[in-house]
């Protein structure tokens, strides 16, 4: 039973990071109709930037964390302005190709600057585990769960209450109508990319603290697909719930099935779930099928 709980807790931590990534993905998809294949690379860049500022410039972790957020915000903003703005109205396949290209370029840049070796953060969180109900949990897990929860909470409030957040959802709902009330749709597009880059960076920073950083971290970007398919492509709540479910199931599969078949189940399992969901519930758990007045 202890193994079970350990797996679940790891699953929640990893799952909450998936949730962040999926939130970014959903945001871009909802607002701009772009399927972003470069989500994992946004995470990668965030992780490296934070690592670099802490290690090379000896900036305290908290400061580096917020500096990274500012940097990735600007980066997301620029990516949209430079690359995707021109693609508005182009066929969806061209846009997908562009994001795939973007992912390769970002990964290459990261490799050029930082190489392929795994780098690790200096000890930011104490190694001593905290014991809760007889389970020992490492501190970085606790911190990342809290940080992710805070971020998800902030964004939920942002989308519900703030003028800009509501405007972003309005753009997602009906672009031309949003335009007719003076909502600057182009700025909203750029903003969605900026926020997506920021949330991915937060995920990346915590992942880096858990496992260290190397370019394979960007594979997390692919896991975002099972998550959003399960949660519903255009649902923010879906991204969060889907992230947690996939994270937990993946770790349980890793703990219980891997020893039986000699590994691989952990990587495979999310995609099996994705295929099953696509077959029986193609809009996912929370995806809108289209609100129709009866």
């Amino acid at each position: 039973m202890e193994l079970f709980f350990q797996l679940v807790i790891t699953g929640i931590v990893i799952g909450s990071i998936y949730a962040l990534l999926a939130l970014g993905f959903t945001l871009i998809y909802k607002a701009t109709d772009v399927v972003n294949f470069a989500q994992g690379e946004l995470l990668l860049v965030g992780a490296y930037i934070c690592l670099h500022t802490t290690v090379t410039y000896n900036v305290p972790f908290i400061a580096a964390f917020f500096l990274t957020l500012v940097f990735t915000f600007l980066m997301g903003f620029c990516i949209e302005k430079i690359f995707l703005r021109r693609m508005i109205g182009e066929p969806i396949i061209s846009i997908i190709m562009l994001t795939i290209g973007l992912s390769s370029v970002l990964r290459a840049i990261v490799t050029i600057i930082w190489g392929t070796d795994t780098l690790t953060f200096p000890e930011v969180f104490s190694q001593a585990p905290i014991v809760v109900f007889g389970l020992s949990i490492s501190q970085v897990y606790i911190y990342s769960i809290f940080a992710v929860a805070i971020f998800l909470g902030l964004f939920t409030i942002f989308f519900k209450k703030s003028k800009v957040g509501v405007a972003m959802r309005a753009v997602a709902s009906d672009q031309q109508a949003a335009l007719s009330m003076g909502i600057d749709v182009k700025r909203i597009f750029a903003l969605s990319w900026a926020i997506a880059a920021v949330v991915s960076a937060v995920g990346g920073i915590f992942l880096a603290n858990i496992n260290g950083v190397n370019t394979s971290l960007s594979h997390f970007g692919l896991k975002v697909f099972p998550v959003v398919i399960l949660g519903g492509l255009d649902s923010i709540i879906g991204a969060i719930v889907g992230g947690l479910i996939i994270g937990i199931l993946e770790n349980l599969a890793g703990g219980y099935i891997d020893p039986l078949i000699g590994g691989g189940a952990k990587e495979l399992f999310p995609f099996v779930i994705m295929i099953v969901v696509l077959m029986i519930k193609p809009y996912g758990l929370f995806g809108t099928v289209e609100v129709e007045k009866v």
Binding site: K163, M181, V291
Partner: protein
């Protein structure tokens, strides 16, 4: 207040929809723009509000001025800021947002501090929206959605509202209600209104001045009370033909005299 001067609008680089259209709206008036399907009424409104671009339309000639300032090259967002707000055809409420969120979206160009008072003002005019403030807008009835669409316009405190077929698909009772709201907006809020309608009778009763469009041009204009008495308008738009005995009518339709 609004001057549309000889504009031409082309869709997809080839389809000429407006062929030198001019019209003028005085401050404080309700002006009706009538015409049959495909005459270019909606295009005219979109040309004014800057919403042609998403439809791949473009103003290729002429100019539009609002309060003495040229707006035909401006972005839709800037036009809203200068005080023109379009209530689009088919209501176009944000279906998966709640009523209140729809209103907040309408106030995008306003300062955050004024949103609260504006919401209260909209609820004062439309108590029914207040009852449903937390309901998802897509599930409301057509009439309520139209009220929401108009309420959203009020949120931006515009000087001029462009209304595209507000009565579309509503029951006669609701049409009456919507027109009384339009009157109220004009009289109490001092909003100038340019109204596009299929329902010519209601539109001419509610407006001060009217324009009649055909094939991308204005073919007739005048004070609404005079238009209502015009024989051609009666025949083709109001469907009033008087006590006509069909035995004596020749078997061709009355010719539109303005086409000659």
């Amino acid at each position: 207040m609004l001057n549309v001067n000889n504009i031409e609008v082309v869709y997809n680089d080839v389809i000429l929809v407006l062929k030198g259209l001019s019209l003028h709206v005085e401050e404080g008036q309700v002006v009706a723009l009538l015409g049959s399907n495909g005459a270019g009424k909606s295009t005219t409104l979109k040309a004014v509000s800057g919403l042609l671009r998403p439809d791949d339309g473009e103003i290729t000639d002429g100019d539009i001025t609002f309060m003495g300032e040229r707006i035909d090259r401006k972005d839709a967002a800037d036009i809203v800021k200068s005080g023109i707000f379009q209530v689009m055809e088919g209501r176009r409420v944000f279906k998966d947002l709640t009523v209140e969120e729809n209103l907040i979206a309408g106030a995008y160009t306003q300062k955050s501090s004024t949103i609260k008072t504006n919401i209260d003002r909209v609820y004062h005019y439309f108590p029914r929206l207040q009852e449903r403030r937390n309901q998802v807008a897509g599930y409301m009835s057509g009439g309520e959605q139209q009220m929401l669409a108009i309420g959203r316009a009020l949120m931006a405190s515009p000087r001029m509202v462009l209304m595209d077929e507000p009565s579309l698909g509503l029951s006669p009772l609701l049409v009456k209600e919507i027109f009384s709201i339009i009157k109220m907006m004009n009289e109490e809020e001092k909003t100038t209104i340019l109204l596009v309608e299929q329902n010519a009778n209601m539109a001419l009763s509610a407006s001060h001045y009217g324009y009649i469009m055909e094939n991308g041009r204005i073919v007739l204009d005048g004070p609404s009370s005079e238009l209502k008495e015009n024989d051609d308008v009666k025949e083709f738009y109001l469907g009033v033909t008087g006590q006509k005995s069909f035995r004596e009518v020749k078997h061709y339709r009355r010719r539109k005299r303005w086409l000659s």
